[in-house]
């Protein structure tokens, strides 16, 4: 059974699964791509909201609205690589909670503020390493492993926390979580942009990135062509963990406390961002640009709903419908053409 999705339209001559040596150029191909679609959607959302809501396009408001999604998007970047590689990590929110608890513990035991970021990232990496070892050494499906580890990580976090919460974090963390550069651009957003550029560079210009696509397209063929498939998988799980740790550091700094329900349910929001960005759940296709556009689109919709005083839960309906529509519409259109 084919679970292959396609951007449709010109599917007859260009599958998303073909790895061309060089992407085919041409304006038409560019316009039909997922990224163009998302960019149009983003412009549409910005335009409609800008007309309907008076203060929507205020630059300060726009800049502040990035706080809503920066941490999630930081996790979405490595998640995109994982999904391109045919793996998935459900445990990211658990990792985030555990790193936040690790920061809290370290801080409560008198560690200096500079040590907290390395601790968060190391905790995340350790958790990711556990996921990666379970997947690569024991050959277990990543979805099953990470469903197990999410309850393990979050469970450990709540064991440490009990019914208390860690608060009173140092000023340095609040600076990174809530602070601005030049009193205008939120620092978190800058961190996100830097990492997005880094991930895009690695995925789209280096041989490491090409190998990730190769693994996602056909892990067995990739192994036979001399790629250390398991090493890549392990590294990607550790990277995802580390980024979840970083997100945990920023989020803890922003909200200034660690509670047991920190980042509850984020795994699905992060995965939604990635899928909406055009990364194929079957692996082997997708771009960082697409993911970032999806992140910004979702951010703009959320922000618009907030400005219009619509409860946040409506957002989940919008996200769900967007997700379904973007995968179902191309399929429906193609079926009609046949």
């Amino acid at each position: 059974m084919s679970t292959i999705t396609s951007t449709g339209g010109n599917a007859a001559h260009s599958s998303r699964y073909v790895i061309a040596d060089k992407p085919q150029g041409g304006l038409r191909a560019a316009l039909a791509s997922r990224e163009a679609l998302l960019a149009l959607l983003l412009l549409g959302v910005l335009g409609v909201n800008g007309i309907l809501l008076p203060n929507f396009l205020d630059p300060y408001n726009l800049a502040d609205s990035t706080f809503n999604f920066s941490e999630k998007a930081l996790i979405a970047l490595p998640m995109a690589l994982l999904i391109i590689c045919r793996e998935i990590d459900i445990s990211v929110s658990g990792i985030l909670a555990l790193s936040s608890v690790a920061i809290g513990l370290a801080h409560a035991n008198g560690m200096p503020p500079e040590a907290l970021l390395p601790i968060a990232i190391a905790t995340g990496m350790l958790c990711g390493c556990l996921n990666g070892i379970m997947v690569t050494q024991f050959g277990l499906p990543s979805i099953v492993v990470t469903i197990g580890t999410v309850s393990l990580f979050r469970g450990l976090a709540s064991v440490v926390l009990g019914d208390k919460a860690f608060t009173g974090y140092p000023q340095a963390m609040a600076d990174w979580g809530q602070g601005y550069f030049f009193d205008f651009i939120p620092r978190e957003f800058v961190v996100l942009l830097v990492f997005a550029a880094l991930f895009a560079g690695v995925l789209h210009t280096t041989s490491w990135g090409r190998r990730i696509y190769a693994i996602g397209n056909n892990p067995i063929a990739a192994r036979f062509s001399g790629i250390h498939v398991d090493r890549y998988r392990l590294m990607l799980f550790m990277l995802t963990g580390a980024m979840a740790g970083l997100a945990g550091y920023l989020l803890t700094g922003r909200i200034g406390s660690t509670r047991p329900n920190i980042a509850m349910g984020w795994e699905l929001e992060v995965i939604t961002m990635v899928i909406l960005g055009g990364v194929s759940i079957a692996g082997g296709a997708g771009t960082i640009a697409g993911v970032m556009l999806a992140v910004l689109t979702l951010g703009a919709v959320t922000y618009g709903l907030q400005m219009a005083n619509i409860p946040g839960i409506y957002m989940t309906i919008v996200i769900g419908v967007l997700l379904l529509a973007t995968i179902a519409l191309p399929r429906l259109l193609r079926a009609r053409k046949k």
Binding site: V144, I147, F153, M264, I313
Partner: protein, 329 residues
Amino acid sequence: MMLKMRETQLALCIVALIALVGARAPVFVTPGSLSNLLTDSTLLVMLALAQMLVIVTRGVDLSMASSLALAGMMSALLASRFPALPLFIVVLVAVAIGLGLGLINGYLIGYLELPPIVVTLGTMSVYRGMVFVLSGGAWVSSHQMPADFIAFPLTKLFGVTHLVWIAALVVLAAWYVARYSRFGRDLYAIGNEPSSARYVGIPIARRLLWTYGLAGAMAGLCGYLWVARYAVAYTEIAYGFEFTVIAACVIGGISIAGGSGSVAGAVLGGLFLAVIGNALPVVKVSPFWQSALTGLVILTAVLINARNGKQGGRQILPLHLNKATGSAA
């Protein structure tokens, strides 16, 4: 032979666990406590059975908990608006709503051939959001619901609650469907080798449509039972429960890669998680440990199952290499 079966091992584990907890805290093995345990496990077991059928086809239904919440909320709203409505109509409505939600999943997955995990991820958000829209974010609490609506699940019949009877019927039905019905066997075929299943003429799209429909209907039924049992309906009911259900399946040895899994496995997986959940307070382990222990159990179970799976490939037909016939099979 019997001892080597995964289900037997799991059953022994459960008995050992109950005995162990009983040794430390005798109150755990009293009939009352065990009957409570059984009642607590029913919803998980029923949902795990439906999820099992979905997983067998190489799919997964992440929207189950949301369908449960939506059907539960609608049945609660219906019962509180029209208290005169007979109970079975309310239940029927809940099942029908669940069925409808499931059929939407099934159509997208079966006929449009979209990946199950993405589709159900999307519908999960939509259904959960709709609970909020329908209820306006308000709670429906026990005094708004009619008395018979709340009383039904925990009313006792021959010493055990209605919940247990319903679960028993569901287990029997699932056992028949998975084992003997053409529909059920087709699901295993689809999960084992979709392209072969297509060649032998199994209507894959239609089967998937009804599998997800069935999962939805089960979620609908459980939605009513959940709301009535806990006597409250709000937007976040059963939030995150989809993972617990999948965990029960995984512990029961149902392969996430599709094509294998048994009714007994799903039932025992659900029971196992229920035993852990009920045992922790009894042995005075902080409830905060529950989630961590559940995670450990899932990981251990998949590790053991993976090791079992490695011992030789499946032999479908007896070998006729020597004069010895396949008596060992």
